[in-house]
């Protein structure tokens, strides 16, 4: 029996799965996969400082708008720092990514401990943002997710060709006069939008799975970037729905983890099938 609340959670998660899968395809193609992890972890200091800011200004520590705004700012800042850091200090992409990820998560953990000592027990709601609490989704959350999804999908549709050119061959794109920096910036903004939208669904740690796992699965099969993005969107929706239903059947199972597990399961199944198929092709 599926109640109204489950329907709501299903709708929200399905939508988020689709949008983050599509965005993730472009992120993966641009080889910025781990930037989504940076953005996710960097949302934590934003949430904590949003809470503190709310307490100090008297808006209340759990003002959703303030939390989302602060999470967006810190996630965007950290994500945008990765590329210049990689260039500037000769750290390389992975070094810069790791540094930003660890740094921002450390800051988030420190701020969270201040929150904990500051307002007596008031941080209960914040803890759920670590791993998400899709089951607690409200109508207003789904409305916000819907609006955000429409914006992200519309932007991706317009930018798809340019994003594909830059991801495939940045130097060629630059010679051709494609606005590489602007497109990279737009992609990071879309990515951060997905991450912030996904905090409620999956939390700062697991949100990366929604963005990357369906995209990675979709990449196993042939097709253009556009087709791959559509495929990733469908996979994202399917695994999100499967996860929500699984956590209904097994109530001790958190929805975010169930969805992540479903996505990983699909990925590994597809990987095995893909290998078998390739092997069969070679033998035939």
């Amino acid at each position: 029996m599926i109640g109204a609340n489950t329907m709501l959670v299903l709708a929200g998660c399905a939508l988020f799965g689709a949008v983050s899968g599509a965005t993730g395809t472009f992120v993966l193609a641009r080889r910025r996969a781990l930037v989504s992890d940076v953005a996710g972890h960097a949302a934590l200091p934003g949430i904590a400082s949003g809470f503190l800011l709310g307490e100090v200004t008297g808006l209340g520590g759990r003002s959703p708008a303030l939390l989302v705004l602060c999470a967006t700012i810190t996630a965007l800042f950290a994500a945008l720092c990765v590329a210049p850091l990689a260039r500037l200090r000769r750290l390389g992409d992975d070094g810069a990514t790791a540094t930003m990820l660890a740094g921002s998560f450390g800051l988030g953990a420190a701020l969270l401990s201040i929150v904990q000592s500051h307002a007596s027990g008031a941080q209960g709601g914040l803890q759920t943002l670590l791993l998400g609490s899709a089951a607690a989704m409200r109508t207003s959350d789904v409305v916000v997710l819907t609006v955000l999804s429409l914006i992200v999908v519309a932007t991706l549709t317009v930018l798809a060709r340019g994003l594909a050119m830059v991801a495939f061959d940045e130097e060629h794109a630059r010679v051709a006069g494609v606005p590489v920096r602007a497109l990279d910036f737009a992609l990071i903004v879309l990515l951060v939008a997905c991450v912030v939208a996904g905090l409620q669904v999956a939390g700062v740690v697991l949100v990366v799975a929604f963005i990357l796992t369906p995209a990675a699965t979709a990449r196993l099969f042939a097709g253009s970037l556009r087709v791959t993005a559509l495929r990733a969107a469908m996979l994202g929706t399917a695994t999100a729905v499967a996860g929500v239903l699984a956590s209904r059947v097994l109530p001790t199972f958190p929805t975010g983890s169930a969805m992540t597990l479903a996505a990983s399961l699909v990925f590994f199944t597809a990987l095995v099938l893909h290998r078998k198929h390739k092997f069969a092709e070679r033998v035939a």
Binding site: V158, G162, M165, F168, E171, S224
Partner: protein, 241 residues
């Protein structure tokens, strides 16, 4: 191009100094020189692809690059591309059309025809729908040339297009480039195989920190010159053109 210098860092550490040359339209020119001499750097510097702004002047068809981008195409080393990227040969060729028309315009049916024609020119029309990761190395290189053709570029700058190509692939690519030159397009390619440069190119520019020699391949690439440049090039700057 006059007194062109470029590199990756401080001005005094320029990889290539005071290079000057002009290319004839419809000609095939090879950039040759020892490893690390700055051939690729020179090519990228000309195209504004280096992190440090070069000094000197580079003009394309009498204009700065920004004014004539549609007529210039860069063909990178095959190794610099991730061939697992989800795209077919036709998708890549279509990127050339987008390079000319702008990325925010939807390529028309005509654009698709242009991309198909470009693939046909490099002999890959049968592979249009093939995923690029499944093409051979030589075919991948020719897809990149097709992309430049789909953009209708008049000047093609190729970074080591013959790297790791076997004889059949090299021969095919050379024939394609020669056909393009006959159409009036200008080819500038970084090339390592001096015998091939002698046999197939109109001109050779030898780069070794600066332009060490420039002229007919047969004259420029004679043994004594080569010994000087490749073997014991103590001060190649002295020969700057």
């Amino acid at each position: 191009m006059r007194n062109f210098s470029c590199g990756y860092g401080a001005r005094d550490a320029d990889v290539v100094r005071d290079a000057s040359f002009t290319l004839e339209s419809g000609s095939m020119t090879a950039l040759v020189g020892p490893n690390g001499a700055g051939k690729s750097t020179l090519l990228k510097g000309l195209l504004g692809l280096l992190p440090v702004t070069p000094s000197g002047e580079a003009q394309f068809f009498g204009h700065p690059l920004a004014a004539v981008r549609a007529r210039v195409a860069f063909v990178p080393q095959r190794a610099e591309i991730d061939w697992n990227f989800p795209a077919s040969a036709l998708d890549v060729a279509t990127m050339g059309v987008a390079a000319r028309l702008g990325v925010f315009r939807r390529p028309s049916r005509e654009g698709r025809t242009t991309a198909m024609r470009a693939l046909a020119t490099v002999g890959l029309e049968a592979f249009a729908e093939t995923q690029i990761g499944e093409l051979s190395g030589g075919q991948q290189q020719r897809v990149l040339v097709a992309r430049a053709l789909a953009a209708d570029a008049q000047l093609l700058l190729l970074d080591e297009p013959f790297a790791n190509a076997d004889m059949a692939a090299s021969t095919k690519l050379l024939a394609t480039l020669r056909a393009l030159a006959h159409e009036g397009r200008t080819i500038l390619a970084v090339h390592h195989d001096l015998a091939s440069v002698r046999a197939h190119f109109d001109r050779a520019i030898v780069v070794a920190g600066a332009i060490a020699a420039d002229g007919q391949p047969r004259e420029v690439l004679d043994p004594s010159q080569l010994a000087k440049i490749y073997g014991i090039a103590d001060s190649p700057e002295g020969n700057a053109a």
